[in-house]
Amino acid sequence: MPVFRAFVALVIALSALVAAAATPGVSDREIVLGSIQDLSGPAAMLGSPVRDGMLLRLEEANEAGGVHGRKLRMVLEDSGYDPKRGVLAARKLLDHDQVFAFLANFGTPVVMATMPLIVEAGRPHLFPFSPHESTYSPLHPLKFQIFAPYQRYMDAATRYMVQSRGYRRTCLLYQDDDYGLEVLKGVEAGLARVGQALVEKTSYKRGATDFSSQIARLRAADCDFVVLATVVRETIAAMSEARKTGWMVDMLVTASGYSAQTHELGGMAVDGLYAVSVLPHPYAAGANRALADWIKRYRARFGVDPNVWSAMGYSIADLFVRGARAAGRELTVARFVSALEHLETTRDFFGSPEYHFSGEDHLGNRYGRLAQIRDGRWVILTDYLK
């Protein structure tokens, strides 16, 4: 009975369509992911390697046959670090591209503006580049994070440094915005726990070029330990200024200053600088075999050397792949969330921390480790500081 057969086929096809429509971004053949990056704004230098790292992992997953037979496709939008453009991008990714989940959205202002839209639409908001507490707390079923607030890392790192090296006069140079204030809170908390207080603090505005007055001020306060809430360029400028004037004080920078660029550009002036690291920089020299292989693949694909941001992008995409694999063939948001909540990873070839989520805690890692520049490269000094 050809008519009956056609009818059955039609019903099956329709029900398949309905099932596919039930979970946006998931079809028989592919899973669509969205990411809002900064590819042209002030953080493009970080956004581009994050994008490339993610693309590399997704392409590898696809070459290996995808996740349960589905290929992974990422739709990237550029916010230029502008929340207004971020919101437009989020709308487009939600309504037009119908993405299954958002990965690694970049920048606190953009994340704050777009996260409510995304979770309201019922899409997972995964591992944004925004060390802001609201990305995982209070607990929300769709919000997952692997980067802890700066406050946490800096509290532990300051405490460790003061305790192990016996500093008496800790000072702070910070960027005059949310980032700097958060580090300030962390440093103060860490010092309070060892019975000390901040001796002097001084700030600068984003884009500042000259740090001579700040360094002169800190030096006048007779600091023996300076914490830097700076980014790469300011870290080098501040430390070079101190060294130039013969001030050999110990300095510790946040994870924002932990970059190969810091020693490549800073040269001898930044030798001895301490930093908090959440993921080691992927150096080609002395790399283990898996890492060396990864660096080669990255170079072949993008024509540039990977940096720590590429590694982060890769790790984030890898966590998604693991979660989606664990969720099984019948991929829905609920299944994916549940799979992620039971996910536990071990250290990978980058030397990453163990990521671990649960039903009560969606922050995968809250620890950083100490590193120091020795002979022109970062050397990891400690394990993850609890």
């Binding site: 493009a44 002169a216 001020r217 006048a220 070079s240 130039k244 660029q261 540039v304």
Partner: protein, 289 residues
């Protein structure tokens, strides 16, 4: 006292860079009555061009820097010929928006180059420290100050003693009369844009050892614009001095005033200066007209 002098020299060096960018603003404004919003981008592209020729193509530093500056001057001239000339006779806003858009294009174009958007670069200037008694001066700061002084002399000679310089000045005084006197006004416009772009590129190359070469180095134009206004927007020496003044005030305020005040000071000074000398500081010391 020592720290005061130390901070002062840094302030002067940064001020020189402000001054050079301010100079490029004023040069263009005087000759074409257009406020160019792409000076920051020209500065950045110029510095990247120097990096590309030096690190990428392996040219010696001086040749790479000179070629980058010359190339940017050429680009400025081309932009005038191809795009900005069409804005003559239109409302002022058209030219301003055109420069804004051209700036966005330059920036966007550069972000499509992975090597440019992934990394910060340095030009291999010696990062030595010159020890003068107890004073430690970084070589890059001394270089900036010396180069700015040399450039000021060259520009002064150009504007006073060469035909092109005199013609350019004539144009900016009164384009119509200059035209009647046989000055090729259109060619002078091209020259002004070329000089403006070249100056921005020089500022970019000089800024490179201080802040490195990266996508956002053009933000310094935000500081240079107040410097240009401080100088009266029509005075070339005024722009240069305005820049140095701003740099010094900024540096000293950071040292002497309470935490957080220093960032307000340049703008407070600007407001005060505009209030007292509405035509700029240079008119102030020439006597108020």
């Amino acid at each position: 006292m020592l720290s005061l002098i130390q901070v002062l020299t840094s302030g002067i060096a940064i001020g020189c860079v402000y001054g050079l960018v301010a100079l490029s603003f004023v040069l263009i404004y005087k000759a074409t009555e257009t406020v160019s919003f792409m000076q920051g981008e020209l500065l950045m592209v110029g510095a990247f061009a120097a990096v590309a020729l030096n690190a990428g193509a392996g040219w010696p530093l001086w040749l790479a820097a000179a070629t980058a500056v010359a190339g940017m001057a050429l680009l400025g001239a081309m932009l005038e010929r191809i795009v900005l000339r069409h804005a003559i006779g239109q409302p002022h806003l058209v030219a301003v928006l055109l420069t804004f858009g051209l700036g966005l294009i330059m920036r966007g174009g550069l972000t499509t180059v992975p090597a440019a958007s992934h990394d910060i670069y340095r030009l291999p200037f010696a990062d030595r420290v010159l020890q003068v008694g107890a004073l430690a001066l970084s070589f890059s700061h001394v270089l900036v100050i010396a180069a700015t002084a040399a450039l000021a002399v060259v520009l002064a000679v150009f504007f006073r003693h060469t035909r092109a310089g005199l013609a350019l000045r004539a144009c900016s005084e009164n384009a119509r009369v200059a035209s009647l006197m046989g000055v090729p006004v259109e060619a002078m416009h091209t020259l002004a844009w070329a000089l403006g772009a070249g100056l921005a590129a020089i500022a970019g190359v000089l800024l490179a050892p201080i802040t490195f070469v990266h996508l956002n180095m053009g933000l310094i134009a935000l500081k240079a614009f107040p410097a240009a206004v401080l100088g009266g927007l029509t005075s070339l020496p005024g722009a240069l001095l305005g820049g140095v003044f701003l740099g010094v005030v900024e540096a000293l305020a950071g040292l002497a005033l309470p935490e957080g005040v220093k960032d307000v000071v340049p703008y407070a000074v600007l407001m005060l200066a505009l209030f007292l000398f509405p035509d700029g500081l240079s008119s102030g010391w020439r006597g108020r007209r």
